[in-house]
C-alpha cells in the first residue's frame, strides 16, 4: 500500500517541479517570432532561386515582414500572389516591373562559322578558355548550356548550339546571368516583345563573315523608331526604359536585314523550325 502512495507522491512532486520549470523557461527563453514571416513564407512560391537578392524565400519573407523589401521584390510570384502578400500584411505591393531573361545571340550552329571540332568538356566556361570557344564569334553564345543547367525553372533550352529562353517559363530570377561566361544574358522588362539578338561589338563586315544572324549596325531600326532603338558602334540596342516600345507588327515593318532584331516569338519559332527541318 505504502509503495503506491510513495510512487504517486514522487510522480506528483516531479510533475509539479518540471511543470514549474517549463513555465519559467517559457517565460525567460522565449524566442520572439513574427507570425507574419510564416504567413509570407506560406504565400511565397518556395523556389529558393535567389532572384530577389536574398538568401532564399525565408530570408525574403523576413525582409518583407520587416518592411525592408516590397512584396513585388519576388520575381517568381505572379501579380495576384504579390497582391495576396501585400493584402495579408496590409502594405503597398510596390511598384516595379517583372523581368525576363534574354540570350542576346542568334548564332546557332547554322548561322555562325563553327571551328573544326571540339571534343572537350561540355561546359561553356571551360570551352571559352580554349581559343575563344568552338564558334567563330568570340562574343556569342557558346551553346553548352551552363545557363540551362543553372535555371531552376527549366526555362532555357539549347537548340542548335544556341540557348533560347522560353518566355512563358522564365521568371527573371537572374541565375542564368551569373552562369554565362560571356555575359550575354540580359534581364529585360517582361512586357517588351522584341530584342536585338546579338552582342558582338565587332565591325559589321567582320561579324558578317563570322555569323549570318548578327547585327551589322545598318541603323534601319533606329531610323524607323528613334525613340525605341539606338545604335552604338555596330550594335543596335533596345531602349528598354522608353515609354512605349513598338509591338510585334511594327517590328515586322522594320525588316531587319539579318534578323538580329526579332520578337521573342519569332526568334524561338525560327530556331525551332531549323531544328525540325534538320530532323526531317
Amino acid at each position: 500500500m505504502s509503495n503506491l502512495v510513495i510512487a504517486a507522491l514522487v510522480m506528483g512532486v516531479l510533475a509539479l517541479v518540471l511543470g514549474t520549470a517549463i513555465g519559467i523557461f517559457v517565460k525567460f527563453f522565449k524566442v520572439k517570432s513574427d507570425p507574419r514571416v510564416e504567413l509570407v513564407l506560406e504565400l511565397l512560391p518556395g523556389a529558393n532561386c535567389g532572384g530577389c537578392g536574398c538568401a532564399g524565400c525565408a530570408d525574403f519573407a523576413k525582409a518583407v515582414a520587416s518592411g525592408r523589401l516590397k512584396p513585388n521584390g519576388c520575381p517568381v510570384s505572379s501579380q495576384e500572389q504579390v497582391n495576396a502578400i501585400a493584402f495579408a500584411l496590409g502594405v503597398d505591393p510596390g511598384e516595379g516591373f517583372a523581368r525576363r531573361a534574354v540570350v542576346c545571340c542568334s548564332g546557332d550552329k547554322f548561322q555562325t562559322q563553327m571551328r573544326k571540332f571540339y571534343n572537350g568538356a561540355i561546359d561553356c566556361a571551360a570551352a571559352s578558355m580554349i581559343g575563344g570557344g568552338p564558334k567563330g564569334c568570340r562574343y556569342g553564345c557558346i551553346g553548352m548550356g551552363n545557363c540551362a543547367h543553372a535555371c531552376p525553372f527549366g526555362a532555357i533550352e539549347v537548340i542548335n548550339s544556341l540557348a533560347v529562353v522560353h518566355q512563358e517559363l522564365c521568371v527573371g530570377c537572374g541565375k542564368c546571368v551569373a552562369a554565362c561566361p560571356r555575359g550575354i544574358i540580359k534581364l529585360v522588362p517582361a512586357d517588351s516583345t522584341a530584342h536585338v539578338y546579338c552582342s558582338s561589338p565587332e565591325k559589321g563586315a567582320v561579324k558578317r563573315s563570322l555569323c549570318h544572324g548578327g547585327c551589322i549596325g545598318c541603323g534601319k531600326c533606329e531610323r524607323a523608331f528613334p525613340d525605341s532603338f539606338t545604335k552604338t558602334g555596330f550594335l543596335a540596342s533596345v531602349k528598354y526604359d522608353a515609354a512605349k516600345l513598338p509591338g510585334a507588327e511594327e517590328i515586322q515593318t522594320i525588316k531587319c536585314p539579318t534578323g538580329a532584331l526579332a520578337t521573342e516569338v519569332d526568334h524561338y519559332a525560327g530556331e525551332k523550325a531549323v531544328r525540325e527541318g534538320e530532323k526531317k
Binding site: 571551328r115 573544326k116 571534343n119 572537350g120 566556361a125 571551360a126 580554349i130 581559343g131
Partner: protein, 451 residues
C-alpha cells in the same frame, strides 16, 4: 664513363607517351629559314605585361632594332627580326586563339643590322649587374614554353638563397627535337650560357638534365662540360621530366613546397635554349630574334628543325617543309602534350614556340569522353600526386572549394592524367577551369580586402 654503370635519375609519377614522333626530326641538322617578305611580330611575347611599342607605322627599322620597350618588371623588350618598314600595328590570330596585336614588318630584303650591344667576351670579370642588365636589354624570355622574362627569374627575391642552377635539356614532349639539335650542334653556346647564369647568380653547382634518349647530345656536352665545371645528368625518359619541379626532384632530390617556387629550395631552372640565347646576348651582343623550331608531323612532306625568326607566320614554316601530303586537321604550337591547338595558319612564331605540329584527322583522335571508371591511372600518372579523377568529379559537381582544399592549384596542366585516362575525360580542361575560377575568386577577395 661506362654508360651502363651510371645512375639514371627520375621523379615519381609521370607517364611514358609514345615517343616515335621524335624520330621524324631528331637526326636532321637545323636549317636556316630564308628571308621572308613580311613578319608579324607579336607585341606580347612574354608572360606578364605587354611591352610598349616605340615604333610608328612608316618607320624604317634595322635588324636587332628595338621595337617595343619593356613596360615594367615582368615585361620584356622586343627587337626587329629583319630590316625594313613598319607597315602597321595590326591584329593577327594570336597563339591563344584570340586576336593579338602584332607589329607588321615589310622586309626590304637587305637584312641590314644595327649593333645594339657591345659584346662582353670577358664576362667572368664583369659585374653580374651589368650582365643582368644585358639579359633584360636583349629581351630574353624563357624559351621552354612559359616565356617568363629571364631577368625576373634571375632576380632572386630577398631573403632567399640559391645554390644550384639546373638547365633543362630534358625535352620530354613527344615530337619536339629543337633543344636536342641545339645541344648537339652548339654545345658550347649552351654551356657558356649556363656558366654566365652561374656567374650572375654566384653559383658554381650547375647541372644540365637530359633524357637518355638523347645520348648523342649527352656525349657531345660531356666533351666540353669539364672546362666549364658543369655536370651533365642523364634522366629517365619519362613525361613530364622537363617540368621545373620534377627536374629539381630528379636531379637534387628536393621537393618544392605547394604554391612555392624553385627559389624556395635554392634552385634556379632555365631552358637550354634560353642559355644559348643568353650566351649570344652577352658574348656576341645580339638580342633574341630567332629560335630553333621543330616543324613536324606525319602529314608534312619533309619535317625538320628550322631556325625561324620571330614573327614568321606558321604557314611559311609549313611551306619550308615542302607543304603537306594529306589534309591536316589539327595544328599545335608547342608540344603535343602542353601545346595549344590553333585555328589559323597565320599565327606567328614567338619566342616560346618550340614546335609547330600538324596532325591528320586520324592522329588527332576524335574521341568521345565517358564516365570515370575509377581505375586510378590518373592518380598514378600525376607527377604532383593529385587525385585528379576526384578533383574533376568535384569540379563537375560544382564543388570548387573542395578541389581547392585538395590542392588543385598545384596542377601543372601537364596532361599526363588526360593522356592515360581510358574514359578520355577532359581532366586537364576541367582542372584549368577550376584554377581560373579560384584565381578569380582570390583576386576578388584581395580587391575586397584592399577596399
Amino acid at each position: 664513363m661506362n654508360k651502363s654503370s651510371r645512375k639514371v635519375m627520375s621523379f615519381t609519377g609521370g607517364i611514358h607517351p609514345v615517343s616515335a614522333g621524335k624520330k621524324l626530326t631528331n637526326t636532321q641538322a637545323v636549317h636556316t629559314a630564308p628571308l621572308l617578305e613580311r613578319y608579324t611580330v607579336l607585341v606580347q611575347e612574354n608572360a606578364g605585361k605587354a611591352p610598349e611599342v616605340i615604333v610608328k607605322p612608316g618607320d624604317k627599322v634595322l635588324k636587332y632594332q628595338l621595337l617595343a620597350q619593356a613596360s615594367g618588371f615582368v615585361s620584356a623588350n622586343l627587337h626587329s627580326p629583319t630590316s625594313g618598314e613598319v607597315a602597321g600595328i595590326v591584329e593577327v590570330p594570336g597563339p591563344m586563339g584570340v586576336p593579338a596585336l602584332a607589329i607588321d614588318i615589310r622586309a626590304d630584303g637587305e637584312d641590314r643590322e644595327t649593333d645594339p650591344f657591345e659584346p662582353i667576351p670577358d664576362w667572368r670579370s664583369t659585374d653580374p649587374k651589368v650582365l643582368l642588365d644585358r639579359v633584360s636589354d636583349a629581351g630574353l624570355v624563357g624559351m621552354g614554353g612559359a616565356s617568363f622574362p629571364t631577368r625576373v627569374k634571375l632576380s632572386i627575391p630577398p631573403g632567399k638563397k640559391v645554390d644550384t642552377l639546373i638547365l633543362n635539356g630534358a625535352e620530354c614532349e613527344p615530337y619536339l627535337s629543337a633543344d636536342h639539335r641545339l645541344m648537339l650542334e652548339s654545345p658550347c653556346r649552351v654551356l657558356e650560357g649556363a656558366a654566365i647564369i652561374g656567374h650572375i647568380l654566384g653559383i658554381d653547382k650547375i647541372y644540365i638534365g637530359i633524357e637518355i634518349n638523347k645520348h648523342d647530345a649527352i656525349a657531345e656536352l660531356e666533351r666540353f662540360s669539364e672546362d666549364y665545371g658543369i655536370k651533365i645528368v642523364p634522366l629517365q625518359v619519362q613525361y613530364p621530366q622537363g617540368s621545373e619541379k620534377q627536374l629539381i626532384h630528379a636531379i637534387v632530390n628536393r621537393i618544392v613546397p605547394p604554391g612555392g617556387l624553385p627559389a624556395d629550395v635554392g634552385c634556379v631552372v632555365q631552358n637550354v635554349g634560353t642559355a644559348a640565347a643568353l650566351s649570344d646576348a652577352v658574348t656576341l651582343g645580339i638580342p633574341l630574334v630567332e629560335r630553333i623550331v621543330t616543324v613536324s608531323g606525319k602529314v608534312l612532306k619533309d619535317p625538320g628543325n628550322w631556325k625561324l625568326r620571330i614573327g614568321t607566320p606558321v604557314i611559311k614554316a609549313i611551306e619550308f617543309c615542302g607543304g603537306v601530303t594529306d589534309e591536316p586537321s589539327k595544328l599545335i604550337l608547342g608540344g603535343p602534350m602542353m601545346g595549344f591547338a590553333q585555328n589559323s595558319y597565320e599565327v606567328p612564331v614567338a619566342k616560346n614556340t618550340s614546335g609547330v605540329l600538324l596532325f591528320s584527322r586520324r592522329r588527332a583522335l576524335n574521341y568521345r569522353s565517358g564516365s570515370c571508371i575509377r581505375c586510378g591511372r590518373c592518380v598514378q600518372g600525376c607527377p604532383m600526386g593529385l587525385c585528379t579523377c576526384l578533383l574533376a568529379t568535384a569540379i563537375e559537381g560544382g564543388r570548387i572549394d573542395l578541389a581547392e582544399q585538395n590542392h588543385v592549384m598545384d596542377c601543372l596542366e601537364c596532361g599526363s592524367c588526360a593522356y592515360v585516362c581510358p574514359a578520355h575525360r577532359p581532366l586537364v580542361q576541367t582542372l584549368r577551369l577550376a584554377k581560373a575560377e579560384i584565381r578569380r575568386q582570390r583576386a576578388a577577395a584581395k580587391a575586397k580586402a584592399e577596399k
